[in-house]
């Protein structure tokens, strides 16, 4: 039963991933990617990684997809932008040919690599017992991997500041310089 569910989830993941690339409307692409993330999360759950599955739903489906949807809605791309460019929503020319070539090469390479390697069977009790107990995960994360953890936190802080600077609306400098002069005079 779990095996069957894995193949169903894998099929849904591949189909929705194709939808992300092929659908014209960006809102539909975002929705398709959401379906892909949910089916990937189901695969994690079936493999016994409950915590990773929960993180996948919370961070990817909850935060990142909302961010994408927010930007699509903010820029109002569902209507004009796309209907004007329907004929070129999938590119043509040298870049498209190179892209298809690289993608097919990656596909063949990964298939050959996966099929030519001999793996021993996995421990059948893993999925029932859980593969990522949170206490063990936290123990590793805050001892052995504490430096990458702190680096990730600094990176997140820098990102928050950087995104605010990048997306800020730049105002004309005239009133600001006037205000500076006034405060300078008062001081």
């Amino acid at each position: 039963m779990a095996d069957f569910l894995f193949y169903v989830a894998a099929l849904v993941a591949v189909l929705t991933a194709l939808g992300v690339v092929a659908l014209k409307n960006p809102v539909m692409s975002v929705t398709s990617l959401l379906g892909c993330f949910f089916s990937v999360s189901m695969i994690y759950l079936l493999a016994g990684f409950q915590f990773i599955a929960a993180i996948q739903i919370m961070v990817y489906a909850g935060a990142i997809m909302v961010l994408f949807l927010f930007v699509v809605m903010l820029l109002n791309l569902g209507t004009d932008e796309m209907t004007d460019q329907v004929e070129q929503h999938i590119g043509k020319g040298a870049r498209a040919k190179a892209g298809i070539g690289v993608a097919l090469a990656m596909l063949v390479l990964s298939l050959v690599a996966a099929l030519s390697t001999r793996f021993d069977g996995v421990d059948p009790g893993l999925a029932e017992n859980g593969n990522d107990p949170v206490p063990a995960l936290a123990g590793e994360m805050f001892t052995r991997y504490s430096l990458p953890f702190e680096a990730a936190s600094v990176l997140l802080l820098a990102t928050a500041v950087g995104v605010m600077v990048l997306a800020k609306r730049h105002r004309s400098p005239r009133p600001a310089s006037g205000a500076n002069r006034e405060t300078g005079g008062a001081a």
């Binding site: 193949y7 932008e81 796309m82 892209g99 893993l126 999925a127 995960l137 990176l155």
Partner: protein
């Protein structure tokens, strides 16, 4: 679940290839960013498959899930910065097409 590791790796390979194809084929910058998310997801599936392969019930291999968590954090950072760049580009050029960003060409 007794699915062999090969099949999880094949799934990851297919998803990664779809992401690469979308990255090169699409011209909408937002969809390009989503293709990158797809590729990061495929990388996560390989981490999970490898962790599952190298674990037994008594002796779990925790490197895979921990690296998956770091990859998810990096994906969030990448999405935030990329979408901020998209917004800045839209303010300046009123478009989100990759072809509009050609200031450094030649």
């Amino acid at each position: 679940m007794n699915v062999p590791t090969e099949h999880m790796l094949i799934l990851a390979g297919i998803l990664f290839s779809i992401g690469v194809a979308g990255f090169f084929l699409r011209r909408n910058l937002i969809v390009v960013l989503m293709s990158i998310e797809l590729m990061l997801n495929a990388a996560n599936i390989t981490f999970i498959a490898a962790a599952r392969q190298h674990s037994t019930v008594g002796d779990l291999s925790l490197e895979g899930p921990i690296f998956a968590i770091f990859v998810i954090a990096i994906a969030a950072v990448e999405a935030a910065v990329g979408l901020a760049l998209v917004i800045a580009l839209f303010r300046r050029k009123q478009t989100v097409s990759v072809d509009a960003v050609n200031l450094l060409r030649d």
